[in-house]
Symmetry: C2
């Protein structure tokens, strides 16, 4: 398998034809059918206009109270609350939130790095839909099925350091179910769902330093199963989650 | 970056010179200074004799009670308890344990797939030491610094499917601290520890299907920082962990 970065994009602004910008690069730079494109969500969010000027945000009482407790600004707290189903854990300035998509991450995925001054970038409203739109355009440009993963950087319980995970997936199955396959001694495997979209997202993180200006990485030579995709398949049902509550 | 599997090993048994088996393959197959070898812990455990015949295990009262509650065998429960500092979560047959190393994973990392009948494989006693031993031998064979990651497959809170993580690291820094670096607009980055050893471990998982007979994957062309390593650097201090208790 080969991982290679697409050449840098210019600064993406709301309304940009991101799919076109990627398709223009993908073919001349060597993307081919079967490849998977991993894309930092931030450029997707920017193209979709998910940038908010903090000065334009009116903080309500809950946000003002949360700001007091966390030391964050009331405007940021207002956005975090509006992007969250609920706060899962809280310690000092750290807010671990469950987003409306079901992702559990710090600050509901809101980030200010690589955002214009005084603004923050929210997660795409529907990253799976974003991935599907990009996938259709890239598949047409490349002339065959490709995969697309919209990725974000998450902290993890139990382990230090951040890794990238898939928050939008199109064109392939994000989880491979190995149940029923046999090990080398012929025993039937159990409980072996492989989160291949997250493995690929994590691999992309090796390239995507926050300051690199390289928002897109391609994996060539990886075996994926054709499927509509859907990062929602990677979200554990809260009822079966032992750590959400 | 290129990810490529080493050719399959014969079945590894206790006392095997695993480092020698890997070194014999690494050089003719193209491993070079700077490369990182990712290795399924199971072959390390087997070479180190961490295989237990369940018939040889005497279950104490706590294990027998746990067996009643979970439906697992008393012998397996005895091993899980002896490999654990504590049980972090429990639901029906699922036991999420904190191992003596500090890893949080199902059944304290004990696994029966690809183990001889009637036996289970435990985690290495000190996977960082295992990685250091392999790293020294591989570096000597290759003629320059290499990285070694001993990996295991973990479930995650919040997300479905398994990914590989690093449980032993030698030869490079498992976490890259980007704090103090600047984003494209010159803003200083905060809170951006990149868990590169886990990113590499996850990438290796793309190759390491449980039935593949391919326990080792090499990453070529990845930038790592020389360091003694240590997967303990990837373990969040329980006191700073919001999800362990």
């Amino acid at each position: 398998m080969r991982l290679w970065p697409l050449s840098a994009l210019p600064e993406v602004v709301p309304g940009d034809d991101l799919a076109g910008m990627l398709a223009d690069r993908a073919v001349p730079e060597g993307m081919a059918p079967g490849d998977v494109l991993m894309l930092a969500h931030k450029v997707v969010s920017k193209a979709e206009g998910r940038i908010v000027a903090l000065a334009d945000v009116t903080a309500g009482p809950a946000a003002r109270a949360l700001a007091e407790e966390t030391g964050k600004t009331p405007a940021l707290c207002e956005l975090i609350l509006s992007e969250s189903r609920r706060i899962v854990r809280r310690r000092r300035s750290l807010l671990v939130c469950e987003t409306h998509h079901g992702f559990v991450c710090a600050n509901a995925g809101i980030d200010s790095s690589n955002a214009p001054d005084g603004t923050v970038v929210l997660l795409p409203v529907d990253p799976d839909a974003s991935a599907r739109g990009l996938q259709a355009r890239l598949a047409a440009a490349v002339g065959g099925r490709v995969g697309v993963i919209v990725i974000d950087t998450h902290g993890r319980p139990f382990r230090r350091g951040l890794v990238n995970v898939a928050i939008g997936v199109a064109g392939f199955a994000p989880v491979i179910d190995h149940r029923g396959e046999r090990d080398r001694s012929g025993r039937v495997l159990v409980a072996t769902d492989q989160a291949i979209a997250d493995e690929l997202a994590a691999a992309a993180g090796i390239y995507l330093g926050k300051d690199a200006g390289t928002p897109a990485v391609v994996a060539s030579g990886v075996a994926t199963e054709p499927s509509p995709g859907g990062a929602h398949l990677l979200v554990r049902d809260p009822e079966h989650d032992l750590f959400r509550t």
